[in-house]
Structure formats: C-alpha cells, structure tokens
Amino acid sequence: MDEKEFLTELRAHQGIIYKVVSMYATNDEEKKDFYQEIVLQCWKGIGGFRGDAKFSTWLYRIAINTVLTLRRKKNILQFNELLPDAGFEPPAVFDQEDRWQLQAAIRLLSETDKAMALLFLDGYEISEMAAIMGISAAHTSVRMYRIKQRLAKIIHSKQHE
C-alpha cells in the first residue's frame, strides 16, 4: 500500500479512531495526543500490514493498543463531549439521547472492557475480538457477557434516576 492509498484508507476509517479516542481521552489535550500517536503508530506499522486482515481491524488494533498503553490518567472522566452527528443520520430507535447514555455507560467500564464494548458495538465476532485483544475466545466470551450485563445495569439505573 503506497502513501496515498494509506492516507485515503485512514481518512475513510477515521471514525474508528474517533470512537476509540472519545472513550478514553479525559481532555482535549489528551485527545490530540491520542490522535497523533495513533496516526504515528499507523505510519510505523503500515509496512507490516499485509492485507490478510481488514484495514479496519488492523486500525482498531493499533488504536486500542495505543490508548491502552499510552493513557496517563486512570478513571478521570472530565471529557464530556457528546459524540457528533457528522456523517450520520440517527434512526428513531437509537437517537442522540440513547447514544449519549450508551457512551456514558461505556466510559464507566474498566479500560479493557471499554475496548471490548467498542469492538462488540462495531460488530466484531468473539474470535476477532479475542485476536485483537490478545486473549482467548472463551475468556472474551465470558467477559463480553459480563460487560453486557454491566452496561444494561448502568443504563437501567440511569433511566430510573
């Protein structure tokens, strides 16, 4: 993949970078640091991208590995920006309020659980999630079950507040 193709692919999949970063960044400065580091790591790793995996999966892996190993402040939720609507027409069943609730709930999960929730929401299978996270499929399956339960509990309690 040449430089031009790489940048085109990166732009086409920038939503992945945004979704991951928005779940981990605690402020604008950290958000920019994450963006820069992910883009840099993509440049560094592009030579090793053989095309046997989808570009989106490869990008997800780099984005998640970067935020999980770069984050400096743990569990400090100061960054309350809502997810933007650009490029998306929300259907009635999943409006701005639902998405905000889901985003807020995901942010309450542990760092690796956040990554797994993101992968699940983007439609990855258990085996793919296990490969990206570097853990066994059985462990991923059990953990995903608990994450869903926890998310449901958080959203339910928020709705009844």
Binding site: Q36, V39, L40, L70, F88
Partner: protein, 196 residues
C-alpha cells in the same frame, strides 16, 4: 441488534483528527515504548563510551592491580551492553499493530527487570574492584610513586578499604536511583497498563 447496526454505520468526523491527518506523518512519539527505546539507546551509547575510556586507562597503567579492576569494569560493562542490545532489539520488534501486544509487553518488562537485577548483582562484585583500581591508579598518577610503596603508607593503606566500602555502597544505590530515574517512569506506566 439495532444499537450494533447503527453504531457500526456511524462514521463520525472530527476536525481535530482531520488536522492531525492533514499535518502528515507525526514526528515525535510520546509513547512509553518509544521513550524507553530512546533511554535505552542513550544508555548503550554512554556505556560504550565509558568502556572505551576504561580501555584507554588500561593502556595507560603499568600495574596489574589496576588492570584487574579495569578488566572487571570492562567485563561488567560488556555484559550489560550486550544484554542491553538484546533488549533494545526486542523492543524494536514490538509494534502496536501486534496481535498480542500485552503479552509481548509483559515479556519485555520481565526481560527489563532481569537486566536491571543483573546489573545490581554484578555491581556488588565489580564496584569494589573498579573503585580499588581507581583509587590505586589515582594514587600513582597523583604522586608518581609505585603502588607497593603507596600501600606501605598507613594513611593510603587505611584509605583503601574505607573508600572501597563507602563508594561501593554509594555507587550501588546511585546506580539504582539512576536506573529508576532513567527507565522507572516508563516501566511503571507500561506495567500499570498491564494490570487492568
């Protein structure tokens, strides 16, 4: 599930990200792996310079006692450099696109700890010899007198064990402090990420 479907379809665009992409390839990494790599490289360069310095001192001295101490220090540095190069190469192989980054990082951190411990263990044996060599070499250079004559002088002879003992202990703790200062922060950061 409708949430999954819509989340997957949703492709947000952020101006800040667009700016980063438009700026081309970022130059400096702030990642602890890159910082560790840089610190390790500097460490290897300095250790190599110091080892060459010891070799030059070896050539400048005529006494076997000094040679012994310097050879011990050169041997110690060579082992540390050799192990450090292996560690550096291992770190170079790790990329954030790795499928199992966390186990790889854990392996690297384990190797790093072993390297640190090796230095401390060797230091216990090497520092006294190297300090004694430095003391004797300094004595002969400053006075122009031979070692056997200097060792017959009570002040110089008593000074030897005192200097060796005090500087070995100080050197050991200084080495620990410098290692923690140079690498500790990044190792701690990566370690904290592995705990979750």
């Amino acid at each position: 599930m409708s949430e999954v479907k819509t989340w997957k379809q949703w492709q947000p665009v952020d101006d800040l990200l667009e700016q980063v992409l438009a700026a081309g390839r970022p130059r400096l990494s702030i990642h602890p792996i890159a910082k560790l790599q840089s610190a390790l490289f500097q460490h290897l360069v300095w250790s190599s310079f110091i080892t060459v310095g010891y070799m030059l001192l070896l050539l400048a001295s005529d006494y076997w006692q000094v040679w012994l101490g310097l050879l011990a220090a050169i041997g110690f540095n060579s082992v540390v450099i050799w192990k450090g190069i292996k560690l550096y190469r291992g770190l170079q192989k790790i990329t954030l696109a790795d499928t199992a980054l966390l186990p790889l990082l854990q392996q690297f951190l384990d190797n790093c700890r072993r390297w640190e411990q090796l230095q401390y263990r060797l230091a216990v044996w090497v520092y006294p010899l190297a300090i004694a060599a430095g003391y004797l070499f300094g004595g002969t250079m400053a006075t122009g007198l031979p070692i056997h004559y200097l060792l017959q002088q009570p002040l110089f002879a008593w000074g030897l064990p005192i200097i060796v003992l005090s500087l070995s202990i100080a050197g050991y703790f200084l080495a620990r402090y410098l290692f923690k200062r140079k690498f500790g922060r990044y190792i701690k950061q990566l370690q904290a990420n592995l705990v979750d």
